[in-house]
């Protein structure tokens, strides 16, 4: 009884402080999200309003005019197309290559396994800044500058190491016993794999695929050197064009923010998906039943 009474006293003493801390958290959250809010807010306001000397804090009376202007500007769709194609090519090849490699390192013991894992982990830390000049020369000599293939090859190589590491966790989480049990029940190895392992692996593939997609979609450094022609721009390069313009002349910030919103929204949605999937228990329960 004494401990309960002590507990209660403690909680009562703490409560006002807790509310203050809660308020502090809300204020900090508002500060942190402000740039994101300001992007959406400005994207809905006409330039005349944005250029007035007092900021408009709420987008009341705003419209989607900025979005229509940006989308109909003529440069958006080519850049969108380029980004989508590059991202999809990267995802498909990256998943295929990484899956095979993850299978090798989690289902087999072989000479060089540890060195391979070590190499993969180190490679994944290499910065694009330390490689892009050489990659630019490489693609130049292969005649692949300003092409989807050229930039995709670099993206696949950049994303594959981490994807292997991520998928390895998922593959290792699926007990091989499960597959073997299915084979005892009369399935062939391929059938066992397709019917048992693959469905369990699907969430892992989705998470890794979204990861690869986000990397390719957001990438700027390599794109800047490999895709120098305007006609082969991806969305990040297209957005950069607006910043460059703003250096020399008054910018229509409403349109720039609408453009940023268009680039950011799919990313935010995918990001929230991958966040949730990363930790879900994947195979928990699959063996118990």
């Amino acid at each position: 009884m004494t401990t309960v009474a002590g507990d209660r006293k403690l909680k009562q003493k703490v409560r006002p402080g807790r509310i203050l801390l809660g308020a502090l958290a809300v204020v900090l959250g508002l500060i942190w999200v402000f740039p994101v809010y300001w992007m959406l807010n400005s994207s809905l306001l006409p330039n005349v309003v944005l250029q007035s000397s007092t900021p408009t804090w709420l987008p009341f009376g705003g419209s989607f005019d900025n979005f229509t202007a940006v989308v109909n500007g003529g440069t958006f769709f080519p850049a969108l197309g380029m980004s989508v194609v590059v991202a999809l090519v990267t995802v498909v090849f990256c998943l295929a290559f990484a899956f095979l490699a993850a299978l090798a390192i989690s289902r087999f013991r072989f000479r060089g396994r540890t060195s391979f894992v070590l190499a993969v982990l180190l490679i994944q830390m290499l910065p694009a800044e330390g490689l892009f000049i050489a990659q630019y020369k490489l693609m130049g000599s292969l005649g692949l500058l300003n092409t989807v293939i050229g930039v995709s090859i670099i993206y696949i190589a950049a994303v594959v190491p981490f994807t292997i590491w991520m998928l390895r966790g998922f593959v290792a989480g699926i007990p091989a016993d499960l597959e073997e049990a299915a084979m005892v029940d009369g399935l062939s190895r391929t059938q066992a794999f397709l019917r048992i392992t693959f469905p369990l692996l699907a969430p892992g593939l989705v998470a890794s695929g979204v990861y690869a997609f986000l990397q390719a979609w957001n990438e700027f450094t390599v794109a800047l050197v490999i895709l120098q022609e305007n006609s082969s721009q991806t969305l990040p390069l297209w957005l950069r064009g607006f910043i460059q313009q703003s250096a020399s002349r008054a910018t229509d910030w409403g349109q720039v923010m609408a453009a940023s919103t268009l680039v950011a929204v799919p990313v935010i949605i995918f990001f929230l998906i991958v966040q949730g999937r990363m930790t879900s228990g994947l195979v928990s329960g699959a063996v118990k039943g």
Partner: protein, 318 residues
């Protein structure tokens, strides 16, 4: 929201059991066959460039080479030139100071937010987590355009608010003075990186048992004492890794710096290692010097990453 606490960049290692029994029946070459596609693409897109860079960094690239003459071998001359060039040291020092300062500020704020999250009730915590996630999810180039707009000298909201507080920030150009340029860059990089730190450390904090904390509280340990003697030692592994990753990541801030320079600041006064390589290689076509700086950056990164990789492998084996 607890499911969101795993940082996307950290591999899911903890729960994975050790690889199951080796398969002996199958061909010995099978694993190598499975690895082949990944190895080939890595050799092409990373291996070849690294070798090319090592070779090129020991050659001389002048005007003649831009017109196709083969580059003569000069061994370590470029490195000697590079490291006796005072500008290189300015860039290196700038990069390191920027990187360490930003990483330290990021980790301090991130830990602060994580502690705050663990000390408040459900609603404000979820609110804070959602706002952090939104900031984290922003693509870097979109975030850069927004920050360029926030700090815009003509109509930026930051100048406006500061002016309305009675400070003289009317038409103040933040990006003109190198020091305030790096302040802005630091604010942006910190804003982007704090969510990762906050979520990772918060995940670590949820592992600290409440029983131990309550016991300490009953024994009379005050808040700061509990933080110093119980909480910090228990989350030290997470803290170490997060700080290391921040340092590695803050060395590679090419995108942020480049996009701030695009807004019209003087590149030579605001270059960090990444933009310096870009300027040497793409701007001046001096591939030998660009390669030498690149090799330096790669070696620096590998040296720093070694600790991180060792940690991952250790966690993988346990």
């Amino acid at each position: 929201m607890t499911t969101t606490s795993e940082p996307v960049t950290a591999p899911p290692t903890a729960s994975a059991p050790a690889p199951s029994a080796p398969r002996k029946r199958r061909g010995r070459l099978t694993p190598y066959g499975l690895l082949l596609p990944a190895i080939l693409i890595l050799l092409l897109a990373l291996g070849y460039p690294i070798v090319w860079q090592l070779v090129t960094s020991m050659q001389h690239f002048g005007l003649a080479q831009q017109f196709g003459r083969p580059a003569p071998f000069v061994w370590f001359d470029n490195y000697i030139t590079l490291f006796s060039d005072s500008y290189m040291w300015v860039v290196v020092a700038r990069s390191i100071v920027f990187c360490l300062t930003t990483a330290a500020v990021t980790v301090v704020i991130g830990v602060g937010l994580a502690l705050l999250m663990s000390g408040i009730s459900r609603f404000p915590r979820i609110f804070l987590q959602i706002t952090l996630l939104l900031a984290w999810a922003m693509p870097v180039v979109a975030a850069m355009t927004v920050w360029n707009w926030l700090f815009d000298w003509r109509r930026g909201v930051i100048n406006n608010v500061l002016t309305s507080w009675g400070l003289d920030f009317q038409n103040h150009n933040w990006l003109q003075n190198p020091l305030s340029f790096f302040f802005v860059a630091g604010v942006i990089v910190t804003w982007m990186s704090v969510p990762f730190v906050a979520f990772s450390v918060y995940a670590g904090l949820t592992q600290v048992s409440t029983e131990v904390l309550e016991a300490a509280q009953m024994d009379g340990a005050k808040g700061p004492q509990r933080l110093r003697y119980i909480i910090l030692p228990m989350i030290r592994p997470v803290l170490g890794i997060v700080l290391l990753l921040q340092i590695i990541w803050d060395l590679r801030v090419f995108t942020q710096i480049k996009l701030l320079q695009d807004k019209g600041s003087i590149a030579s006064e605001t270059n960090l290692l990444g933009t310096y390589i870009y300027q040497l290689g793409v701007g001046a076509s001096d591939f030998a010097m660009a390669s030498a700086v690149s090799v330096f950056v790669l070696i620096l990164t590998i040296a720093l990453s070694w600790f991180y990789v060792r940690h991952l492998l250790k966690e993988d084996q346990s």
